[in-house]
Amino acid sequence: MKIKKKIINLLVLSLELAKAEFKLRNEGSYLGVLWYLLNPLLSFSLLFLVFSDRLGGDIKNYSAYLFLGIIMFNFFQGTTLEAVKSIISENNHLVKSLNFPREALIISVVIKGLFSHLLEVCLFFIFSFFWAQNPFLIFFYLFLLILFVPFVYGVCLMLSSLTVYFVDLENIWNFAVRIIWLATPIFYAIESQTRLFYLNLANPMYYFIETARSVVIYGQLPRGWIIYGVVAFALLFLGAGQFVFGKLKTKIPELV
Protein backbone atom coordinates (compact mmCIF):
# COMPACT_ATOMS: atom_id res chain seq x y z
CA MET A 1 0.00 0.00 0.00
CA LYS A 2 2.76 2.36 0.94
CA ILE A 3 4.72 1.49 -2.18
CA LYS A 4 1.64 1.99 -4.31
CA LYS A 5 1.15 5.44 -2.84
CA LYS A 6 4.79 6.27 -3.46
CA ILE A 7 4.54 5.27 -7.09
CA ILE A 8 1.37 7.27 -7.57
CA ASN A 9 3.00 10.31 -5.98
CA LEU A 10 6.00 9.90 -8.23
CA LEU A 11 3.87 9.74 -11.35
CA VAL A 12 1.66 12.65 -10.33
CA LEU A 13 4.68 14.81 -9.67
CA SER A 14 6.39 13.76 -12.91
CA LEU A 15 3.30 14.59 -14.92
CA GLU A 16 2.90 17.98 -13.26
CA LEU A 17 6.55 18.76 -13.93
CA ALA A 18 6.29 17.67 -17.55
CA LYS A 19 3.17 19.77 -17.99
CA ALA A 20 4.83 22.80 -16.43
CA GLU A 21 7.90 22.43 -18.62
CA PHE A 22 5.73 21.96 -21.66
CA LYS A 23 3.84 25.15 -20.93
CA LEU A 24 7.09 27.00 -20.37
CA ARG A 25 8.49 25.85 -23.67
CA ASN A 26 5.45 27.00 -25.59
CA GLU A 27 5.12 30.29 -23.77
CA GLY A 28 4.62 33.11 -26.24
CA SER A 29 5.43 30.86 -29.18
CA TYR A 30 3.33 31.37 -32.29
CA LEU A 31 4.14 28.09 -33.98
CA GLY A 32 3.68 26.13 -30.76
CA VAL A 33 3.69 22.43 -31.37
CA LEU A 34 4.98 22.89 -34.92
CA TRP A 35 8.41 23.66 -33.51
CA TYR A 36 8.64 20.08 -32.32
CA LEU A 37 8.26 18.87 -35.88
CA LEU A 38 10.46 21.41 -37.56
CA ASN A 39 13.74 19.92 -36.40
CA PRO A 40 13.15 16.37 -37.68
CA LEU A 41 11.57 17.71 -40.86
CA LEU A 42 14.55 19.91 -41.62
CA SER A 43 17.14 17.22 -40.93
CA PHE A 44 15.10 14.82 -42.99
CA SER A 45 14.84 17.15 -45.97
CA LEU A 46 18.50 17.97 -45.87
CA LEU A 47 19.75 14.41 -45.52
CA PHE A 48 17.30 13.22 -48.12
CA LEU A 49 18.49 15.80 -50.62
CA VAL A 50 22.13 14.98 -50.05
CA PHE A 51 22.05 11.21 -49.72
CA SER A 52 19.02 9.82 -51.54
CA ASP A 53 20.96 9.22 -54.74
CA ARG A 54 24.15 7.90 -53.25
CA LEU A 55 24.18 6.29 -49.80
CA GLY A 56 20.47 5.67 -49.91
CA GLY A 57 20.31 4.65 -53.56
CA ASP A 58 20.20 0.94 -52.83
CA ILE A 59 17.88 1.16 -49.86
CA LYS A 60 14.31 0.18 -50.46
CA ASN A 61 11.89 2.92 -49.47
CA TYR A 62 14.69 5.25 -48.43
CA SER A 63 12.46 8.14 -47.31
CA ALA A 64 10.69 6.05 -44.70
CA TYR A 65 13.98 4.38 -43.73
CA LEU A 66 15.61 7.75 -43.16
CA PHE A 67 12.69 9.45 -41.41
CA LEU A 68 12.11 6.64 -38.94
CA GLY A 69 15.81 6.60 -38.08
CA ILE A 70 15.86 10.34 -37.55
CA ILE A 71 12.85 10.54 -35.28
CA MET A 72 14.00 7.62 -33.13
CA PHE A 73 17.43 9.09 -32.72
CA ASN A 74 15.90 12.48 -32.08
CA PHE A 75 13.97 11.11 -29.12
CA PHE A 76 17.10 9.51 -27.69
CA GLN A 77 19.26 12.56 -28.28
CA GLY A 78 16.81 15.22 -27.12
CA THR A 79 15.85 13.39 -23.97
CA THR A 80 19.33 12.40 -22.85
CA LEU A 81 20.79 15.84 -23.57
CA GLU A 82 18.13 17.40 -21.41
CA ALA A 83 18.44 14.81 -18.65
CA VAL A 84 22.18 15.29 -18.37
CA LYS A 85 21.72 18.85 -17.12
CA SER A 86 18.37 18.36 -15.43
CA ILE A 87 19.61 17.99 -11.88
CA ILE A 88 22.82 19.90 -11.89
CA SER A 89 21.93 23.13 -13.60
CA GLU A 90 18.18 23.34 -13.67
CA ASN A 91 16.96 21.96 -10.39
CA ASN A 92 19.92 22.23 -8.05
CA HIS A 93 18.16 24.57 -5.58
CA LEU A 94 15.09 22.44 -5.59
CA VAL A 95 17.00 19.25 -4.81
CA LYS A 96 18.65 21.00 -1.88
CA SER A 97 15.50 22.32 -0.30
CA LEU A 98 12.76 19.76 -0.79
CA ASN A 99 12.62 16.05 -0.25
CA PHE A 100 10.72 14.57 -3.14
CA PRO A 101 11.36 11.51 -5.29
CA ARG A 102 14.30 12.62 -7.44
CA GLU A 103 13.34 10.26 -10.24
CA ALA A 104 10.43 12.61 -10.99
CA LEU A 105 12.83 15.11 -12.53
CA ILE A 106 14.05 12.47 -14.98
CA ILE A 107 10.68 10.89 -15.67
CA SER A 108 9.27 14.31 -16.53
CA VAL A 109 12.07 14.81 -19.08
CA VAL A 110 11.26 11.45 -20.64
CA ILE A 111 7.51 12.20 -20.72
CA LYS A 112 8.18 15.48 -22.46
CA GLY A 113 10.47 13.80 -24.98
CA LEU A 114 7.97 11.03 -25.54
CA PHE A 115 5.25 13.55 -26.26
CA SER A 116 7.16 15.22 -29.06
CA HIS A 117 8.27 11.82 -30.29
CA LEU A 118 4.66 10.71 -30.61
CA LEU A 119 3.93 13.83 -32.64
CA GLU A 120 6.73 12.80 -34.99
CA VAL A 121 5.28 9.31 -35.16
CA CYS A 122 1.95 10.82 -36.23
CA LEU A 123 3.79 12.71 -38.93
CA PHE A 124 5.35 9.45 -40.08
CA PHE A 125 1.86 7.95 -40.26
CA ILE A 126 0.68 10.77 -42.51
CA PHE A 127 3.75 10.58 -44.72
CA SER A 128 3.35 6.83 -45.15
CA PHE A 129 0.38 7.44 -47.43
CA PHE A 130 2.62 9.31 -49.84
CA TRP A 131 5.48 6.87 -49.56
CA ALA A 132 3.33 4.01 -50.81
CA GLN A 133 3.80 1.84 -47.82
CA ASN A 134 1.39 0.34 -45.35
CA PRO A 135 0.73 3.22 -42.92
CA PHE A 136 -0.83 1.03 -40.27
CA LEU A 137 2.34 -0.90 -39.56
CA ILE A 138 3.48 2.08 -37.48
CA PHE A 139 1.12 0.91 -34.75
CA PHE A 140 3.47 -2.00 -34.09
CA TYR A 141 6.07 0.60 -33.25
CA LEU A 142 4.11 1.41 -30.10
CA PHE A 143 5.00 -2.06 -28.83
CA LEU A 144 8.67 -1.39 -29.42
CA LEU A 145 8.29 1.80 -27.37
CA ILE A 146 7.51 -0.39 -24.37
CA LEU A 147 11.17 -1.37 -24.49
CA PHE A 148 12.63 1.74 -26.08
CA VAL A 149 11.32 4.16 -23.45
CA PRO A 150 12.77 2.20 -20.47
CA PHE A 151 16.09 2.07 -22.30
CA VAL A 152 16.15 5.85 -22.78
CA TYR A 153 15.01 6.35 -19.18
CA GLY A 154 17.85 4.15 -17.94
CA VAL A 155 20.43 6.14 -19.89
CA CYS A 156 18.92 9.38 -18.56
CA LEU A 157 19.09 8.14 -14.97
CA MET A 158 22.76 7.29 -15.32
CA LEU A 159 23.73 10.51 -17.04
CA SER A 160 21.82 12.80 -14.71
CA SER A 161 23.30 11.36 -11.54
CA LEU A 162 26.84 10.94 -12.86
CA THR A 163 27.02 14.58 -14.00
CA VAL A 164 26.82 15.61 -10.39
CA TYR A 165 30.17 13.86 -9.89
CA PHE A 166 31.74 14.58 -13.26
CA VAL A 167 30.83 18.06 -14.18
CA ASP A 168 31.96 17.98 -17.78
CA LEU A 169 29.96 14.88 -18.55
CA GLU A 170 27.51 17.33 -20.05
CA ASN A 171 30.04 18.36 -22.69
CA ILE A 172 31.31 14.84 -23.16
CA TRP A 173 27.80 13.57 -23.75
CA ASN A 174 27.12 16.36 -26.23
CA PHE A 175 30.06 15.09 -28.20
CA ALA A 176 29.38 11.41 -27.67
CA VAL A 177 25.82 11.71 -28.91
CA ARG A 178 27.08 13.17 -32.17
CA ILE A 179 29.49 10.29 -32.61
CA ILE A 180 26.69 7.80 -31.97
CA TRP A 181 24.57 9.65 -34.53
CA LEU A 182 27.24 9.17 -37.17
CA ALA A 183 28.02 5.59 -36.21
CA THR A 184 24.41 4.44 -36.22
CA PRO A 185 23.04 3.52 -39.65
CA ILE A 186 20.46 6.30 -39.85
CA PHE A 187 21.05 7.78 -43.28
CA TYR A 188 23.03 4.87 -44.70
CA ALA A 189 22.85 1.10 -44.68
CA ILE A 190 25.37 -0.99 -42.88
CA GLU A 191 25.24 -4.38 -44.54
CA SER A 192 28.30 -3.99 -46.73
CA GLN A 193 30.55 -2.40 -44.10
CA THR A 194 31.94 -5.16 -41.92
CA ARG A 195 33.91 -3.03 -39.49
CA LEU A 196 31.06 -0.64 -38.84
CA PHE A 197 28.74 -3.59 -38.47
CA TYR A 198 30.82 -5.13 -35.69
CA LEU A 199 31.08 -1.76 -34.01
CA ASN A 200 27.32 -1.39 -34.08
CA LEU A 201 26.81 -4.69 -32.32
CA ALA A 202 27.69 -2.76 -29.17
CA ASN A 203 25.39 0.13 -30.06
CA PRO A 204 21.92 -0.25 -28.52
CA MET A 205 20.43 2.34 -30.86
CA TYR A 206 21.30 0.08 -33.80
CA TYR A 207 19.13 -2.71 -32.42
CA PHE A 208 16.15 -0.48 -31.72
CA ILE A 209 16.23 1.30 -35.06
CA GLU A 210 16.80 -1.93 -36.96
CA THR A 211 13.82 -3.57 -35.26
CA ALA A 212 11.57 -0.59 -35.92
CA ARG A 213 12.53 -0.53 -39.60
CA SER A 214 11.97 -4.25 -40.10
CA VAL A 215 8.53 -4.09 -38.60
CA VAL A 216 7.25 -0.71 -39.69
CA ILE A 217 8.73 -0.38 -43.16
CA TYR A 218 9.29 -3.91 -44.38
CA GLY A 219 6.51 -5.58 -42.42
CA GLN A 220 8.59 -8.43 -41.08
CA LEU A 221 10.10 -9.47 -37.78
CA PRO A 222 13.80 -8.73 -37.43
CA ARG A 223 16.32 -11.53 -37.03
CA GLY A 224 16.20 -13.29 -33.69
CA TRP A 225 19.46 -11.96 -32.28
CA ILE A 226 18.33 -8.40 -32.90
CA ILE A 227 15.19 -8.97 -30.88
CA TYR A 228 17.26 -10.46 -28.07
CA GLY A 229 19.52 -7.44 -28.29
CA VAL A 230 16.60 -5.05 -27.92
CA VAL A 231 15.28 -6.83 -24.85
CA ALA A 232 18.73 -7.23 -23.31
CA PHE A 233 19.76 -3.60 -23.81
CA ALA A 234 16.44 -2.31 -22.50
CA LEU A 235 16.72 -4.38 -19.32
CA LEU A 236 20.43 -3.77 -18.93
CA PHE A 237 20.24 0.01 -19.18
CA LEU A 238 17.10 0.28 -17.10
CA GLY A 239 18.68 -1.86 -14.37
CA ALA A 240 22.03 -0.09 -14.50
CA GLY A 241 20.34 3.30 -14.50
CA GLN A 242 18.21 2.46 -11.48
CA PHE A 243 21.25 1.08 -9.70
CA VAL A 244 23.54 4.05 -10.34
CA PHE A 245 20.85 6.62 -9.64
CA GLY A 246 19.78 4.80 -6.49
CA LYS A 247 23.36 4.72 -5.23
CA LEU A 248 24.10 8.34 -5.95
CA LYS A 249 20.83 10.13 -5.31
CA THR A 250 21.22 10.52 -1.59
CA LYS A 251 24.55 12.28 -2.09
CA ILE A 252 23.25 14.59 -4.81
CA PRO A 253 21.88 17.34 -2.52
CA GLU A 254 25.27 17.65 -0.84
CA LEU A 255 27.14 18.03 -4.08
CA VAL A 256 25.05 20.35 -6.21
Binding site: N9, L24, V95, K96, S97, L98, F166, L169
Partner: protein, 241 residues
Protein backbone atom coordinates in the same frame (compact mmCIF):
# COMPACT_ATOMS: atom_id res chain seq x y z
CA UNK B 1 3.22 11.54 20.87
CA UNK B 2 6.79 11.96 19.65
CA UNK B 3 6.94 13.35 16.14
CA UNK B 4 10.71 13.55 15.84
CA UNK B 5 13.27 11.54 17.77
CA UNK B 6 16.92 12.24 17.05
CA UNK B 7 19.63 10.32 18.81
CA UNK B 8 23.34 11.04 18.66
CA UNK B 9 23.19 12.54 15.22
CA UNK B 10 26.48 12.91 13.38
CA UNK B 11 27.01 14.58 10.05
CA UNK B 12 30.31 15.09 8.26
CA UNK B 13 31.01 17.10 5.17
CA UNK B 14 34.05 16.50 3.06
CA UNK B 15 35.40 19.81 1.96
CA UNK B 16 38.63 21.36 0.88
CA UNK B 17 38.57 19.91 -2.60
CA UNK B 18 36.79 21.03 -5.69
CA UNK B 19 33.18 20.08 -5.14
CA UNK B 20 32.37 19.40 -8.71
CA UNK B 21 35.36 18.12 -10.54
CA UNK B 22 35.80 17.69 -14.22
CA UNK B 23 36.14 14.11 -15.40
CA UNK B 24 39.85 14.59 -16.11
CA UNK B 25 40.57 16.09 -12.69
CA UNK B 26 38.63 13.32 -11.07
CA UNK B 27 40.47 10.73 -13.07
CA UNK B 28 43.84 12.18 -12.15
CA UNK B 29 42.81 12.50 -8.54
CA UNK B 30 41.73 8.89 -8.30
CA UNK B 31 44.84 7.49 -9.92
CA UNK B 32 47.40 9.79 -8.39
CA UNK B 33 45.88 9.52 -4.97
CA UNK B 34 46.25 13.26 -4.54
CA UNK B 35 42.69 13.96 -3.61
CA UNK B 36 42.93 15.75 -0.33
CA UNK B 37 39.66 15.72 1.48
CA UNK B 38 39.15 17.46 4.74
CA UNK B 39 36.40 16.16 6.89
CA UNK B 40 34.39 18.67 8.85
CA UNK B 41 32.00 17.51 11.50
CA UNK B 42 28.95 19.71 11.13
CA UNK B 43 26.78 17.97 13.68
CA UNK B 44 28.28 16.08 16.55
CA UNK B 45 26.13 13.93 18.80
CA UNK B 46 22.93 15.93 18.57
CA UNK B 47 19.92 14.43 20.36
CA UNK B 48 16.53 16.11 20.21
CA UNK B 49 12.94 15.04 20.68
CA UNK B 50 9.94 16.96 19.45
CA UNK B 51 6.40 16.03 20.43
CA UNK B 52 3.22 16.80 18.59
CA UNK B 53 1.81 20.13 19.56
CA UNK B 54 5.20 21.64 20.10
CA UNK B 55 7.06 24.45 18.37
CA UNK B 56 10.80 24.00 18.68
CA UNK B 57 13.19 26.79 17.87
CA UNK B 58 16.74 26.12 16.75
CA UNK B 59 19.20 28.94 17.18
CA UNK B 60 22.83 29.35 16.41
CA UNK B 61 25.35 31.41 14.46
CA UNK B 62 26.06 30.95 10.80
CA UNK B 63 27.69 27.60 10.21
CA UNK B 64 26.56 26.11 13.48
CA UNK B 65 24.67 23.36 11.67
CA UNK B 66 21.09 24.59 11.95
CA UNK B 67 20.15 24.25 8.32
CA UNK B 68 21.99 20.96 8.01
CA UNK B 69 19.97 19.64 10.93
CA UNK B 70 16.77 20.73 9.23
CA UNK B 71 17.78 19.06 5.96
CA UNK B 72 18.59 15.87 7.83
CA UNK B 73 15.18 15.82 9.48
CA UNK B 74 13.56 16.49 6.10
CA UNK B 75 15.45 13.53 4.66
CA UNK B 76 17.30 15.64 2.09
CA UNK B 77 20.72 14.75 3.53
CA UNK B 78 21.72 11.37 4.93
CA UNK B 79 23.34 11.22 8.34
CA UNK B 80 26.75 9.66 8.96
CA UNK B 81 25.87 8.40 12.39
CA UNK B 82 23.02 8.26 14.88
CA UNK B 83 19.33 7.92 14.31
CA UNK B 84 16.45 10.03 13.09
CA UNK B 85 12.93 8.69 13.48
CA UNK B 86 10.04 10.80 12.27
CA UNK B 87 6.34 10.14 12.39
CA UNK B 88 4.06 11.80 9.89
CA UNK B 89 4.15 13.87 6.76
CA UNK B 90 7.08 16.26 6.55
CA UNK B 91 6.95 19.58 4.73
CA UNK B 92 10.12 21.63 4.56
CA UNK B 93 10.24 25.32 3.79
CA UNK B 94 13.95 25.77 3.32
CA UNK B 95 14.51 27.77 0.18
CA UNK B 96 11.11 29.21 -0.43
CA UNK B 97 11.45 29.98 -4.09
CA UNK B 98 13.00 26.72 -5.21
CA UNK B 99 9.83 25.01 -6.36
CA UNK B 100 8.27 27.91 -8.22
CA UNK B 101 8.41 28.57 -11.95
CA UNK B 102 8.49 32.28 -12.73
CA UNK B 103 6.86 32.13 -16.11
CA UNK B 104 3.86 30.10 -15.01
CA UNK B 105 0.63 31.44 -13.57
CA UNK B 106 -0.18 31.26 -9.89
CA UNK B 107 -2.71 28.51 -10.64
CA UNK B 108 -0.08 26.33 -12.34
CA UNK B 109 2.38 27.01 -9.57
CA UNK B 110 -0.09 25.91 -6.91
CA UNK B 111 -0.51 22.59 -8.70
CA UNK B 112 3.23 22.18 -9.20
CA UNK B 113 4.13 23.06 -5.63
CA UNK B 114 1.30 20.94 -4.26
CA UNK B 115 2.62 17.91 -6.10
CA UNK B 116 6.10 18.57 -4.77
CA UNK B 117 4.57 18.46 -1.31
CA UNK B 118 3.04 15.09 -2.14
CA UNK B 119 -0.58 16.01 -2.83
CA UNK B 120 -2.59 14.42 -5.60
CA UNK B 121 -4.29 16.56 -8.21
CA UNK B 122 -7.65 15.94 -6.65
CA UNK B 123 -6.48 16.98 -3.20
CA UNK B 124 -5.06 20.17 -4.65
CA UNK B 125 -8.29 20.90 -6.48
CA UNK B 126 -10.27 20.41 -3.28
CA UNK B 127 -8.08 22.83 -1.35
CA UNK B 128 -7.39 25.22 -4.19
CA UNK B 129 -9.89 27.84 -3.08
CA UNK B 130 -8.70 27.69 0.52
CA UNK B 131 -5.11 28.15 -0.58
CA UNK B 132 -5.94 31.15 -2.72
CA UNK B 133 -8.19 32.73 -0.11
CA UNK B 134 -5.63 32.29 2.63
CA UNK B 135 -2.87 33.86 0.55
CA UNK B 136 -5.19 36.81 -0.20
CA UNK B 137 -4.13 36.72 -3.83
CA UNK B 138 -7.53 36.03 -5.36
CA UNK B 139 -7.06 38.68 -8.00
CA UNK B 140 -3.86 37.18 -9.31
CA UNK B 141 -4.73 33.53 -9.90
CA UNK B 142 -4.12 33.80 -13.63
CA UNK B 143 -1.10 36.10 -13.33
CA UNK B 144 2.37 34.81 -14.08
CA UNK B 145 4.31 34.99 -10.89
CA UNK B 146 7.40 36.73 -12.23
CA UNK B 147 5.25 39.80 -11.72
CA UNK B 148 4.72 38.99 -8.05
CA UNK B 149 6.59 40.75 -5.29
CA UNK B 150 8.70 38.64 -2.92
CA UNK B 151 6.09 39.00 -0.22
CA UNK B 152 3.37 37.74 -2.52
CA UNK B 153 5.42 34.70 -3.48
CA UNK B 154 6.15 33.93 0.14
CA UNK B 155 2.50 34.16 1.00
CA UNK B 156 1.69 31.80 -1.83
CA UNK B 157 4.26 29.22 -0.75
CA UNK B 158 3.32 29.45 2.89
CA UNK B 159 -0.31 29.01 2.01
CA UNK B 160 0.29 25.93 -0.16
CA UNK B 161 2.62 24.35 2.40
CA UNK B 162 0.31 24.77 5.35
CA UNK B 163 -2.70 23.51 3.40
CA UNK B 164 -0.94 20.19 2.75
CA UNK B 165 -1.72 19.19 6.34
CA UNK B 166 1.85 18.56 7.42
CA UNK B 167 2.50 16.63 10.61
CA UNK B 168 6.00 18.01 10.78
CA UNK B 169 6.66 21.49 9.45
CA UNK B 170 10.28 22.55 9.03
CA UNK B 171 10.90 26.23 8.51
CA UNK B 172 14.22 27.89 7.80
CA UNK B 173 14.47 31.61 8.59
CA UNK B 174 11.52 32.51 6.47
CA UNK B 175 8.68 32.30 8.87
CA UNK B 176 7.68 35.91 9.09
CA UNK B 177 5.90 36.20 5.86
CA UNK B 178 4.34 39.28 4.36
CA UNK B 179 3.07 42.36 6.16
CA UNK B 180 1.98 42.70 9.79
CA UNK B 181 -1.51 41.50 9.10
CA UNK B 182 -0.35 38.45 7.24
CA UNK B 183 2.26 37.70 9.89
CA UNK B 184 -0.50 37.44 12.43
CA UNK B 185 -2.51 35.28 10.12
CA UNK B 186 0.38 32.93 9.40
CA UNK B 187 1.12 32.70 13.12
CA UNK B 188 -2.50 31.74 13.65
CA UNK B 189 -2.33 29.13 10.92
CA UNK B 190 0.74 27.58 12.49
CA UNK B 191 -0.98 27.47 15.82
CA UNK B 192 -3.96 25.76 14.25
CA UNK B 193 -1.70 23.07 12.79
CA UNK B 194 0.05 22.61 16.11
CA UNK B 195 -3.23 22.32 17.97
CA UNK B 196 -4.26 19.63 15.56
CA UNK B 197 -1.22 17.57 16.50
CA UNK B 198 1.51 18.75 14.19
CA UNK B 199 4.91 19.90 15.35
CA UNK B 200 7.02 22.72 14.00
CA UNK B 201 10.76 23.13 13.92
CA UNK B 202 11.78 26.70 13.30
CA UNK B 203 15.34 27.70 12.52
CA UNK B 204 16.40 31.28 12.98
CA UNK B 205 19.18 33.38 14.36
CA UNK B 206 16.69 36.05 15.29
CA UNK B 207 16.02 35.73 19.00
CA UNK B 208 12.82 37.76 18.79
CA UNK B 209 11.19 35.39 16.35
CA UNK B 210 12.16 32.38 18.41
CA UNK B 211 10.87 33.96 21.59
CA UNK B 212 7.65 34.98 19.98
CA UNK B 213 6.66 31.62 18.57
CA UNK B 214 8.51 28.76 20.20
CA UNK B 215 7.84 26.69 23.29
CA UNK B 216 11.38 25.43 23.56
CA UNK B 217 14.71 26.38 22.10
CA UNK B 218 17.81 24.44 21.18
CA UNK B 219 20.99 26.39 20.73
CA UNK B 220 23.66 24.93 18.49
CA UNK B 221 27.29 25.91 18.78
CA UNK B 222 29.71 24.29 16.37
CA UNK B 223 27.44 21.36 15.80
CA UNK B 224 26.78 20.57 19.44
CA UNK B 225 23.81 21.41 21.60
CA UNK B 226 24.71 24.13 24.04
CA UNK B 227 21.30 24.76 25.47
CA UNK B 228 18.05 22.84 25.28
CA UNK B 229 15.16 24.10 27.33
CA UNK B 230 11.97 26.08 27.58
CA UNK B 231 11.93 29.74 26.76
CA UNK B 232 11.42 31.72 29.94
CA UNK B 233 9.30 34.48 28.54
CA UNK B 234 7.91 32.47 25.74
CA UNK B 235 5.13 33.93 23.68
CA UNK B 236 5.42 37.12 25.65
CA UNK B 237 4.14 39.13 22.75
CA UNK B 238 1.21 36.81 22.42
CA UNK B 239 0.92 37.35 18.75
CA UNK B 240 -0.30 33.85 18.36
CA UNK B 241 -3.40 34.52 20.38
Amino acid sequence: MKRIVIKNLIKDFKIGFAKRQSALQRFIAVFSGVDVKKKIRVLDGVSIEVSSGEILGIMGDNGSGKSTLLRLIAGIFKQDGGQIVTDGKIISLINLFAGLKDRLTMRDNIFLLGSFFGMTRREIKERFDDIVTFSELQKFVETKIYQFSNGMMQRLIFSVATHCNPDILLIDEVFEVGDEKFKKKSGGRIKELVNNGACVVLVSHDEDIIKRYCDRVVELVNGRIKKNGPILFSKQFLRLE
